[in-house]
């Protein structure tokens, strides 16, 4: 009786929708007020763009520190703070403390929440113990406004946004199988979504929706396995059958390898209220060694569009079938409306780790553009727009009988977890990029009878252009870069754009910089106490515009600094690539907030 169930579910959801649409609407309104920064992506479209323009190209050079706050934690600080109606919410890496500060007097902590966590979580996380942010849901009737925190040990917690009191706590990811949470949760309608990390350890990826009020699980959609588990709508890929339709979550795996096939999602979400679809990407297949999982390994590495009410997928586009490089496809999704080939379209753009920025028609899932983030991307010659298939260069594959040199990008990707900005007036993306390549050296042990411990070592190093990062203005309409600015180290955390014609970002070696978004010209920079792997935000309080950013080097690029690693191949190869970093910055952890002096 699946149809009966479905109808009932739809009816229930519609009833629920009438009640809960309000909270959703409130969140949208809050996100439109540029005094706030209510979600890590700024708004549902993930523009990371603010119309504030008190700080502009003429005065940005006068920016100065307004206030600072130390989080007391020394690991890598990804993400950024939220600002909602006069309060700032600050998240930290493990132990995942949350602080609320009153912007009227940021020198005093309003509340703090220190979760009790399973300490095993620390050991399980692959690349430092980061957390990418908290989520906010507005008050509704007598139900208080909430802050949602994903804990490294796999629990999702709802806190009273005014007091920090715990309202509910649910296990979303099972630490006992190596699943952790590093993702910022995402509030849509009456639900809060969160995914797990741990594809590295074979964790089968899924996204779970919980009711924001009581934490009841509403649905869970897997990346691999039977169609029911993956929650494929009967219309799945109806308009894009070339991507594949049904049964592939099983058929594209050998045996029951899909059960341990990875495809976790720990990146970012976007939501289009008019189409009522959420967008996110699933990550890399497991195990990491590609030879042990023949097949396309669907639906890992996939750009998803799902109905937030029931989680059913309308379409899915697998970018990197049978991944060989760990190009985890979880990066952020940016929703824009632009005219391409004379046709105004609703688009979703996604700068992927594999070095391609994909743009789909977000209504239909059709591939509109697939451009290289840099001309040195070599694992793929081009992406066929009709079939969606990457046309590979086998020289840069990672087979166990092949020593591959100069694979670009490295496993870190030319773009990683950073959230970038889109200026809707200029119709430009400002992309913070990595420029790191790698060698792939298979190894085998010559002893321990019959135990063919076969693996590979990655060595990562700066790409052919001699730097490790860029900030680039990308025009999806033409596929061209309007300008490009090199950076000594990766631009890991992402960018912020404002109507003041500015692009802000932080660097791994600890600078916050402001560029003219029309030319890329550097207008201001300031050296922070530690390197940056998070993204800057901006907000307004009592008529004054502020720019805030986390400092705290770490994460994957800073893993060598955090754990004091010396072997260049340690930290999944990051230690060698970033060995220079130790000469520029050390661990730290906190927030710095900038504003113009009163007389400007």
């Amino acid at each position: 009786m699946p149809t009966m169930k479905l109808r009932l579910a739809v009816a229930l959801v519609m009833m629920g929708g009438a009640v809960t649409g309000q909270a959703n609407q409130k969140l949208i309104e809050l996100s439109k007020k540029d005094s706030n920064w209510v979600m890590p992506t700024k708004d549902y479209s993930a523009t990371h763009y603010s119309k504030l323009k008190q700080i502009d190209t003429s005065n940005v050079s006068k920016l100065q520190v307004a206030w600072t706050f130390s989080t007391g934690v020394l690991n890598g600080h990804e993400g950024g703070p939220l600002v909602v109606d006069g309060l700032m919410y600050i998240n930290t890496p493990f132990p995942n403390t949350v602080y609320a500060l009153d912007l009227n007097d940021p020198s005093k902590i309003v509340w703090e929440y220190k979760p009790k966590q399973n300490p095993a979580a620390r050991a399980v996380a692959c690349c430092d113990v980061v957390n990418r942010g908290v989520a906010y849901a507005p008050a509704e009737g007598r139900k208080p406004a909430k802050i949602f925190l994903g804990q490294l040990d796999g629990h999702l917690v709802a806190l009273n946004a005014k007091t920090g009191e715990e309202i509910w706590k649910m296990e979303a990811c099972d630490i006992r199988v190596g699943a952790t949470i590093t993702q910022a949760p995402f509030v849509v309608k009456d639900k809060v979504l969160v995914g797990c990390s741990g594809a590295e350890l074979g964790v089968r990826g899924y996204v779970t929706a919980f009711n924001i009020n009581d934490g009841k699980m509403e649905w869970r959609a897997f990346a691999t396995g039977p169609d029911e588990d993956i929650r494929l709508s009967p219309k799945f890929n109806e308009k894009t059958p070339q991507y594949g339709r049904f049964g592939l979550g099983l058929k594209t795996w050998e045996g029951d390898a899909w059960k341990i096939g990875g495809g976790t999602n720990w990146g970012w979400y976007a939501y289009d209220p008019s189409l009522d679809l959420i967008y996110y990407g699933s990550g890399n297949p497991a195990p990491w060694n590609e030879t042990m999982r023949p097949g396309d390994n669907k639906w890992t590495m996939t750009m998803w569009a799902r109905d937030p009410d029931d989680g059913m997928a309308i379409y899915g586009y697998q970018k990197t079938p049978h991944d060989e490089w760990d190009y985890a496809g979880v990066n952020y999704m940016a929703l824009t409306e632009q005219t391409i080939n004379g046709k105004k379209m609703k688009l979703v753009s996604h700068p992927d780790r594999n070095g391609i920025i994909y743009t789909l028609n977000r209504e239909t899932g059709e591939l509109v553009r697939a451009d290289k983030l840099d001309d040195t991307v070599n694992w793929v010659k081009y992406v066929d727009l009709k079939s969606g298939q990457p046309v590979r260069d086998p020289e840069y594959g990672t087979r166990m009988d092949h020593q591959a040199r100069n694979i670009c990008p490295s496993a870190m990707g030319y773009h990683n977890q950073g959230v970038d900005a889109y200026d809707p007036e200029k119709e430009l993306f400002f992309l913070g990029l990595n420029h790191i390549c790698m060698d792939w050296e298979p190894f085998m042990l010559p002893y321990r009878a019959g135990q063919f411990f076969v693996g590979a070592t990655l060595n990562m190093y700066p790409g052919p252009k001699g730097v490790m990062g860029f900030v680039r203005a990308y025009d999806v309409k033409t596929g061209r870069f309007k300008w490009s600015v090199p950076e000594k180290f990766s631009v890991w955390g992402g960018t912020l754009a404002t109507k003041g014609n500015l692009v802000f970002y932080g660097t791994l070696d600890g600078w916050i910089k402001a560029l003219d978004s029309r030319s890329g010209k550097l207008l201001w920079k300031f050296k922070l106490p530690s390197g940056v792997i998070g993204h800057p935000i901006t907000y307004e309080h009592n008529g004054k515009q502020y720019v805030a950013i986390y400092y705290g080097v770490g994460g994957w690029p800073g893993v060598g600094l955090v754990f004091d690693l010396k072997d260049p191949s340690a930290g999944l190869g990051a230690v060698g690539a970033f060995k220079e970093l130790a000469h520029y910055t050390k661990m730290g952890g906190g927030v710095m907030v900038f504003a113009l002096p009163d007389d400007v």
Partner: protein, 301 residues
């Protein structure tokens, strides 16, 4: 091709599988070695005034080797050194991945005690012992072959990834079920870009404590811990007729040789002599360890 083990069913050197009779192996091995044993004893202790014999050895690889020299391969190395009149100097490595490249070929050490005969990166001696993969269970629990129903029921089967046990677990459809337990056995350390060691003592210990119903291990890795369990554990050689999902053979028995740098014939010849001279003593070491020894297969014409 050589790296293509998952398709060849985990077979590296493609050695023909022989010696199915589990009960018959003892005397076959013992007889010639015992005969030669007296001779080796006569070699006795000679002065260790030669240049040091530099042995590549894991500093934390029990039961093979450790920094205190408690491994059975440490003991074998000492025997060989004595036979050659050379003091043994262990050169310790921690990371098994690049021992050949970073130690042996870099000239830091000259000899590896336990390697696959004929390994393409090495020059190897004649095999000096042969053993097999075993099921380790609590006493009274019998698992005699891979089709045993207990293996379908078992909550936990301890094994080392990338071993023939992994190939067989995939075949019987239990690999995915055991995957997280396999990760748990190394506290969820990721194997990517690093060497992660599955401690045989921990795997056997899980059987002893009842956490795992069975452990599947290379007998030399399990032997001393089964021995030390004082009769509470049983170790049973796995019959050597296994095939993988594609029907390709999955050998369960392997020979072990000494390995030196490719082309280091002089040292290899010395070591062959030392092996012959100390056969009895080496056999005693392996026997004391509790390792079941199998006869070398007869070469096919």
């Amino acid at each position: 091709m050589m790296f293509d083990w998952w398709r060849t069913g985990g077979r590296l050197s493609g050695r023909p599988a022989t010696g199915r009779g589990v009960a018959r192996w003892w005397w076959l091995v013992l007889l010639p070695w015992l005969l030669l044993g007296c001779q080796s004893q006569q070699a006795g202790t000679m002065a260790l005034d030669g240049p040091p014999l530099r042995v590549c050895a894991g500093e934390n690889e029990l039961p093979y080797s450790d920094r205190e020299g408690r491994g059975f391969e440490n003991a074998i190395a000492r025997e060989l050194g004595e036979a050659l009149g050379r003091p043994v100097r262990f050169v310790w490595w921690q990371d098994a991945r690049f021992v050949v490249r970073n130690y042996l070929n870099a000239g830091k050490c000259d000899l590896m005690i336990g390697v696959d005969p004929g390994h393409p990166e090495l020059t190897t001696s004649r095999p000096y012992y042969r053993s097999g993969y075993v099921f380790v269970t609590r006493k009274g629990v019998e698992v005699s072959d891979w089709d045993d129903p207990l293996l379908q029921r078992a909550g936990h089967i301890a094994f080392v990834p990338h071993s023939p046990a992994e190939v067989m677990l995939r075949k019987i459809g239990r690999y995915a079920d055991m995957f997280f337990y396999m990760n748990e056995l190394v506290d969820f350390k990721s194997r990517r870009n690093k060497y992660v060691r599955w401690e045989p003592q921990r795997l056997v210990g899980d059987v002893l404590s009842g956490k795992a119903e069975v452990a599947v291990l290379w007998a030399p890795e399990a032997a001393r811990y089964v021995r030390d369990a004082g009769g509470r554990l049983t170790m049973r050689l796995i019959p050597d007729h296994q095939t993988d999902r594609r029907g390709d053979p999955v050998p369960q028995r392997y020979s072990v040789a000494l390995g030196v740098r490719k082309g280091d014939e002089a040292l290899r010849r010395d070591l062959e002599r030392a092996l012959a001279a100390r056969r009895g003593a080496i056999l005693d070491i392996l026997k004391a360890e509790g390792i079941p020894l199998l006869p070398e297969p007869v070469a096919k014409r």
